[in-house]
Subunit: 198 residues, 4 copies
DNA sequence: AATGAATGAGAGTTCATTCAT
DNA sequence: GATGAATGAACTCTCATTCAT
């Protein structure tokens, strides 16, 4: 494949399929979603989906991969890696929220991992991995408490963000910045090395 | 049949159905679960399920109701309400974990709310409500920070516990007591009024 | 069984069952009707129906038997047998319409014969048989045309009355007496020995 | 495939389905008939039926429509319209019998109208309408008695033919021509303007 | 005799998947 | 490569029938 994309048509169709599939899977769930609906939404025939994915589960796999990648890319932004803790918390969480705004239904999508044929691949999500990396980095720099159980803390932080997102879904009027600030503050109090007094 | 044994047969059958349904729904998901499997597992005929629940969705509703109730009961134990913060965190979290041990797959179950016909009833879960009540109580007693956004913090705490549970599922060898201690510590640092120094 | 009915309770229950069954079968059809509905309508338990009838088909048989008998009784009224043709036509048809008013849905019921386990018994209906007997009687008295094919004419007359009944169902405002007069006139023109002129 | 052969496959399949459905519905009734049997008989998969009809009731609707149309077409043959009464009776009845030979079980089919989702459409059957038209035509030409109640007479004639058909079903050895002659004679005596004597 | 909870075979319907065009 | 008509396995739900009480 050359640098300037030779198969724009196909790429476009694949994107249309992934877009439609993301929409349907996240809004209605895996089993409820009909491939024919996705095809119609994407403006292609059902058979076309089968030219790109082995089946329904593999299509979900593709959807999850793309969504996770988008999240992970945001969090792995080198610019963020240079920020010291606790300020970095705000940057990380902002990145997650920004990605979540693009991939609006990631939270719900992630719950579908179980259906993906290669579910194992998603057992440890890219997002979770990015969180772990950031925390490890903070510990290496002595900006985070050494006595923290890293894998456990990463899961807890992950859940905390999910909980905050659910709060925003339940009360859409909330100010995202304020929510981000609350999570950042909680993270700092919980994970950062206490600042020496005085 | 003893005198204080009211309709044991029917109660037993309903319980068997709910037990089997909980097992299947939480382990395999709503759509994937076949009523015939639940019936077989419960040792009853399919028709018997329909004598108690209008359909599959209503059966899930019954399962969720029972599970939520069990959790909420554990957390509303009056004995817990007398413990001051931050010690109370340990008690609450222990209660959740103990209930989770009985209702092993609550976390996964809760994700199924969408399928329940009376999903609205679960919009705000009993567990979440219990958490809110405890936090409010702590704030009234000045044991928790006054500047905490209660509804948001409750969701975040809820998510944090879910995350910890996922960690335990991923690594079953973990010591539950240690996990509980980590959550309790994080909660204390994050939510408790800082103790005066000195 | 003595002359004065010893088992009024059972007879009453049987009647209630037959009444309810007649209502349901004729209004909604055989397959659509649920035994539990009939039982509820009759104020008995489902099991009670099985104490009197072998099954659903046999219950329909009982319903048809009773309805047919009621019709046949009306038409076999000795008073009618003394009337000469063509006047007798009016009496016969009036009797059918009167019975149809009591057993409101006979026409629809008869269509259900196919479902009765002893359908053979109904192949030649009582009503049809009564019509045949009357026509034979008229031929014996030379009041009806000798060249009429009796079994065929009986079926045709039967159908003609059914057609008239459908007309009344379609246009309930019709005057029954006028309808009866039309059928009687048609029968006379068609079946009676032409009166000598002059 | 020739040029003037438009979508033969699909048309053929639809026809096969309608043929099989007609056979099954008329021989065994609506509820008793299984879609899987119709599909097997038609040499298609069950799903194929659902590509053409919304469900079982709509399939019956399609069957009734086609059958009625076939009958009505036979009766509306312009050649018949030119024959004067009473000779026209023979032509009409012959046409009905000929169509009945093709659509062997129309009489029984018509009784199923109740199950068709668009039953209303069949309230007044095409056949009945054709009969009415012929009678009206006869009255306009002064070939039929003016004092006949047209809608009622049409229903009665319709029923008379049905009765005759039942006679033929009960006694298959009967000569159709003789049966037709009997109906035609009855119709003439009943409906035609009496011929002036002399 | 009367009941109705329990049963499970069986039907309509859906939809992922295939493949001829 | 693209399509969508065709397929049939598999599901939920119903209800006649049984039988313990």
């Amino acid at each position: 494949m050359t640098t300037n994309d030779v198969k724009p048509a196909q790429a476009t169709k694949t994107d249309a399929i992934l877009d439609a599939a993301t929409r349907h899977f996240s809004m209605h769930g895996f089993e409820v979603t009909k491939l024919s609906d996705i095809a119609k939404d994407a403006g292609v025939g059902v058979g076309t989906i089968y030219l790109r994915y082995e089946g329904k589960a593999e299509l979900l796999g593709g959807v999850l991969d793309r969504a996770e990648q988008s999240f992970a890319d945001a969090m792995n932004d080198p610019a963020i890696r240079d920020i010291p803790f606790p300020e970095r918390f705000t940057a990380i969480i902002s990145a997650i929220f920004k990605a979540a705004d693009r991939e609006r239904d990631l939270a719900r999508l992630m719950a579908l991992s179980a259906y993906a044929s290669h579910a194992g691949a998603h057992e440890t999500s890219h997002v979770l991995h990015a969180i772990k990396t950031h925390l490890q980095d903070g510990m290496d720099r002595n900006e985070l408490r050494a006595d923290v159980d890293l894998p456990l803390a990463a899961r807890m932080a992950h859940g905390m963000v999910e909980g905050a997102m659910r709060a925003m879904m339940a009360e859409p009027a909330r100010d995202p910045a304020a929510v981000i600030a609350q999570i950042a503050q909680a993270s700092e109090l919980w994970l950062c090395t206490p600042k020496p007094k005085g």
